[in-house]
Amino acid sequence: MQAALLSLVAAGASSSQIAEAAVNEWCEIDAVLSPIIGPHGVAALYKRALHLIRDDYPWLIAAHEHEGELLFNNFIQLKTALAKRTTAEASAANLSLYQSFHTTLVSLIGESLTHRLLTSILDNSLRGDAVQDTSS
């Protein structure tokens, strides 16, 4: 995830493109995890990940809040929030969010199983890098 976004930043992508790419990655994670731990399980982890980075990125959690509740709606709030920031801010915030999500998942089901479940996404990210490299 990190490498793909950084390549986009390096390639001079706009914030909207960063946001678009980030949400695509999140949808892939959701597609892998939801069937296993259920959409509610993914939503709970995502909200926890947002909460853990609230001090560094208060604007990110604020974008998900509605009447005092955290919303989780197919990463629409994430996309909107990232698109409003600079590319550097957007990619850094998304990276933090992903790391926070990953760490939470690891703390619950362990490094090895997390890696096992998310292998395909890591592979995709690498493929994404390769495409970026050749196009630049």
Binding site: S34, P35, I36, I37, G38, P39, H40, G41, L45, L108, I109, G110, S112, L113, R116, L117, T119
Partner: protein, 495 residues
């Protein structure tokens, strides 16, 4: 392995090895392939663990397993806790094992949707095994107003038909509290495995029962099981080994030395091979020392042995010679420190150790300690279980020595407080007697099935080298009363 007729026109039912130690025996050989089973029991009794253990043992990339999680335990938690077991192999996930959450479909309360999703996933993955955990949640979530097209009964029947047609061995896992509760699931199922936790006083014992398993010679009754990091281990009742292994020859030819030459002489030349002997005596009379001598003598003759010691400080009382033999793995030790033991569990451990070492001598020291180690729920059936264990051990061909604490009562002649004396082929009794203001020890062979033996009451002493059997007290009478009286002025005479 297959059951049923060898006739080519009849269906052969393959039996799958479950990977759960002891479970295949209890099931009557294994799990029938393509069977539709229910795994039931109250919360916390080990249903999910049993399901996972079988799944990890049986799933392959060619015949994967699908584990459907429903509303019950959150899948994240299940994955978190189940991976603590050694059988949980991360490498199998995604290739051989697919976890699929059905929360969305179940939440609608529409069983038709649940069934469609299950069938869709089964068609996609072509699994050899399907688990639905927990099935109870499916039942609770079904709302009559939403399931006008499909009732629970129809849902189960259709699920059963679909899974069998797709050649999947299926398990519905559910929380049920009473087996008498009329339940359509139980009728449709080919197999019904019930897990329980029985509580008596402070002890909790896990038990498993195969209430139904179509077409299989299952072992009836409640079978204890234990859950450790290795997973579930079921203790099937000890089975008699095949008759040809029971090598007690008749009339007795081969005899084993007890390690005390005078005692061998009293026993008519030693203990016949394959016999069981009970050494009964009061506390401190030297039963464990006799048992140690029996094992050491075996080691001297190149035989291996197994000991199950139930004394509080087993390591200290065994003596250095035995400790060395244990270190060299010439004597196997059965761990008796776990709580809430069952006789079946000890039998299984003993027999496994006998097979591992190809042992010929087995010592259980003592039956009194053994009984105390048992969970209270098993104490009532102690004699029956002991009888089963002794015959199972005997059928393996080993020679068994058991000790038994005998409260010194001088009003009657008793050999065992449990009525276990009838179980054994031979009995040696040790007692204290008072002679000239000294506490002396006395030994006698009171039973030796099918063999001549001495009827003498002999004095014996114990020193660092072990037991030394001495003379008879010819000039005394009333020895069994504990305080013999002198008949004449003649002193001790050699026996």
């Amino acid at each position: 392995m297959t059951i049923g007729s060898n006739n080519v026109n009849k269906a052969n039912i393959n039996q799958l090895s479950t990977g759960v130690p002891g479970l295949d025996e209890v099931l009557g050989g294994g799990l029938p392939e393509y069977s539709f089973n229910v795994l039931a029991g109250p919360p916390g009794c080990g249903k999910t663990t049993l399901a996972h253990q079988m799944m990890f043992a049986l799933a392959t990339p060619e015949r994967p397993a699908i584990y459907f999680t429903v509303l019950g335990e959150p899948p994240l938690k299940m994955l978190r806790y189940q991976q603590q077991f050694n059988f949980f192999d991360n490498e199998k996930i995604k290739d051989s094992i697919h976890f699929i959450n059905l929360a969305d479909e179940t939440a609608t309360g529409d069983l038709d949707k649940v069934l469609k999703r299950i069938v869709m996933e089964v068609e996609t993955h072509s699994p050899g095994m399907v688990f639905v955990d927990s099935f109870r949640s499916v039942v609770l979530a079904s709302r009559p107003e939403n399931s006008s097209f499909l009732t629970l009964q129809q849902f189960i029947q259709q699920l059963g038909i679909q899974m069998t047609s797709w050649q999947a061995t299926t398990f519905l896992i559910g929380e049920y509290f009473t087996e008498s509760e009329p339940n359509p699931v139980f009728t449709v199922a080919d197999g019904l495995i019930w897990l329980r936790q029985s509580v008596q006083r402070n002890s909790v014992v896990r038990k498993l029962e195969i209430m139904k398993m179509r077409g299989q010679p299952t072992l009836s009754g409640l079978h204890t099981f234990r859950i450790s990091l290795e997973g579930i281990k079921v203790f099937a009742p000890p089975q008699l080994a095949s008759a040809d292994q029971a090598n007690t020859e008749w009339p007795v030819k081969k005899r084993l030395c007890m390690g005390i030459p005078e005692l061998d002489a009293m026993m008519g030349g030693g203990l016949p091979s394959g016999y069981s002997v009970l050494v009964a005596g009061p506390s401190g009379s030297g039963k464990s020392i006799l048992a140690a001598a029996f094992l050491e003598e075996g080691a001297r003759n190149g035989e291996t042995g197994v000991i199950a010691a139930f004394e509080q400080r087993a390591n200290r009382t065994r003596g250095s010679a035995i400790a060395k033999l244990i270190e060299k793995d010439l004597i196997g030790v059965v761990d008796t420190r776990v709580s809430a033991l069952s006789v079946d569990e000890i039998s299984a451990l003993l027999i496994a150790e006998v097979r591992r070492l190809n042992a010929t001598r087995v010592v259980i020291d003592s039956l009194s300690g053994f009984e105390l180690t048992l969970a209270p729920t098993f104490r009532e059936d102690f004699r029956e279980s002991m009888a089963q264990m002794v015959s199972a051990l005997a059928s393996t061909g080993v020679t068994l020595l058991m000790t038994s604490e005998l409260e010194d009562r001088y009003t009657d002649l008793r050999f065992s407080p449990y009525g276990t004396a009838f179980l054994t082929d031979a009995i040696i009794v040790q007692r204290y007697i008072e002679v000239q203001s000294h506490l002396e020890r006395m030994i006698a062979v009171v039973k030796m099935r099918g063999s001549a033996h001495s009827n003498e009451l002999r004095l014996f002493t114990i020193d660092e080298e072990g037991i030394h059997i001495g003379t008879m007290l010819r000039d005394h009478e009333g020895l069994l009363g504990g305080s013999p009286t002198r008949r004449s002025s003649v002193d001790y005479v050699d026996g």
